[in-house]
Amino acid sequence: MHQKVDSSLIKRKVTKNRLFYFIFILATLISLSFLVILIYRILSQGIGYLNIDFLRNFPAPYIDKAGIFAGLMGSIFMIAITAPVSIILGVSTALYLEEYAKDNKFTRFIQVNVQNLAGVPSIVFGLLGLTFFVYIMGFGYTLISGALTMSLLVLPVIVVASQEAIRSVPQELREASIGMGATRWQTIWRIVLPTSIPGIITGSILALSRAIGETAPLIIVGAAAAIYTIPDSFLSRYTVMPIQIYSWTARPQEEWQYVAAAGIIVLLIILLCMNAIAVWIRNKFQKRY
């Protein structure tokens, strides 16, 4: 006896499957289209205002005189402080957790703590910086306050990325090194770090590119929009690119939007370069074991 197959049921199932296939593709395309529209809008608005003078000029009250030079240099100076501080602290923390720490409650506490710090809104780091660096340490609204606040902000990201890189170094390499008579630190310095450095650098660059685009905490710790000099010490007033973009966006006259868009193009190009370098390092140097 053959059971009769309900062909209409199957047909319905197949149609439903096809329908949802298109819905899912459509949703993915809509998500991607946001990126396309965003990039297109910014390019079409800003490209006309982008020229050498825009890169060389300080902020100015007139549209054709305004430039992003102070912001560009401010961002570079800030990263020049943030990068060493956050990478040294971050990699050291990761090394401690992965290579030295015993699996006890305190280690797990540090681990959970790092994860939770990564989820704290950036503006709360701004409040920390305002109380601690600006007022208690007495740095005021200066470059060093902003750079140290940023270091703490990106620290958890660098720790997590470095931990993953260090964890991916196979245990056999460590055992071989110890077996040859190397000490623990020699093993770390000569075997673990060189093997994991591509992953660490990639993670660090990605974290620092987040710091370059960050605006809110720097408003809180006093990066100003109207800065007509380049920082000449840790205790100089400063501005950064996102702050400039924000101040241009916030102006009511429509023409300033084009200046803001030109600033955004410069910012996005720098972020794109950093990301490209990070991906290149990962693909070129990372070994899989």
């Binding site: 296939y21 993915t28 809509i30 998500s31 809180i220």
Partner: protein, 313 residues
């Protein structure tokens, strides 16, 4: 032959001698390095303590001036005229978060299902990184986009809507968190073993049925965790709402109105000529600790869900 052996034993002895000379230094390094690394690891703990300490210190002195009940039960926020009822700011934050989730949840989840269940390996390899670019765009750029593009577009539909409104800011916050939901949910779905899919397909299920009846339930904890994490990001998002949502504390759930969120007030309060230790200065910390508690609860919830309901295969 003998000579050679002498040579070797000589050099080994030499090495041992040399090694002994360096041993003191080596031992010192071996002892100091873990201490240095431990101190560095302590910085992240100190940061957490610092955040709690600063938020609590200024908030406690704020609550000495303004009562707890006035702050959390009051419905009028106007700090420059001494009205400190935080409800309008919380309402603004919730409104933005709701709009953002309404945008990001369907799009992000659908994209995750497409990438994990339908897309070819090559398509996935291309689309996922492009989608993740959205997560790397600075929020000030999204704010610019919301104000100069999304708002004017929406004004074609809601003709009497002002340029600063909750809707455009909320939509753009949603766009920002799409890749977070899509990427993390896709990871969770990818972790579901293929044997389950093959089993269902072998019984005659369509791909859609496999996705909704097998993969989604199996990856449910990871998906919920990603949504909760994205919600936390939306709550803490600052620049988009500062630029596009206006600066009008408004106890409303009407998305076409101008509002202010917790984060946007912190920017406004810190940016102005707020003097150190004034009531307004302290109020940004009271708002800050409210925001911190919201996001901390969401993060803990997300980790708890991911751990508690995780299915191991």
């Amino acid at each position: 032959m003998v000579n050679k052996r002498d040579n070797i034993s000589y050099s080994v002895q030499d090495m041992i001698k040399k090694n002994k000379k360096n041993k003191g230094l080596h031992n010192l390094v071996e002892k100091l390095v873990p201490i240095f690394l431990f101190l560095c690891a302590g910085v992240s703990v100190i940061t957490t303590i610092g955040i709690l300490f600063t938020l609590l210190r200024e908030s406690i002195s704020f609550f000495r001036e303004i009562s707890f009940a006035d702050f959390y039960l009051g419905t009028h926020w106007s700090p420059w005229t001494d009205h400190f009822g935080v409800a309008p700011l919380i309402a603004g934050t919730l409104l933005i978060t709701c709009i953002a989730i309404c945008v990001a949840l369907p799009l992000g989840l659908a994209a995750a299902i497409y990438l994990s269940e339908y897309a070819s390996e090559n398509a996935r390899k291309v689309i996922k990184p492009i989608l993740e670019i959205l997560a790397g765009i600075p929020t000030v750029v999204y704010g610019f986009f919301a104000l100069t593009f999304v708002s004017p577009m929406l004004q074609y539909i809601f003709t009497d809507m002002r340029i600063f409104n909750a809707l455009s800011a909320g939509i753009v916050v949603g766009i920002m968190i799409i890749p977070m939901i899509a990427s993390l949910s896709e990871d969770a779905m990818n972790a579901v073993p293929n044997t389950l899919r093959d089993g269902a397909l072998g019984l005659g299920a369509t791909r859609f049925e496999v996705a909704t009846k097998v993969v989604l339930p199996a990856a449910f904890s990871g998906i919920v965790a990603s949504v909760v994490l994205a919600t936390s990001r939306a709550i803490g998002e600052t620049m988009i709402v500062t630029i596009a949502a206006g600066a009008t504390p408004n106890l409303t759930f009407n998305p076409t109105e101008s509002i202010q969120t917790l984060t946007a007030f912190i920017v406004q309060g810190a940016k102005g000529d707020t003097s150190y230790l004034s009531t307004i200065y302290k109020s940004i910390y009271a708002v800050g600790i409210t925001l911190f508690i919201f996001t901390l609860l969401m993060n803990i919830l997300s980790q708890y869900i991911a751990r508690r309901f995780k299915e191991d295969y």
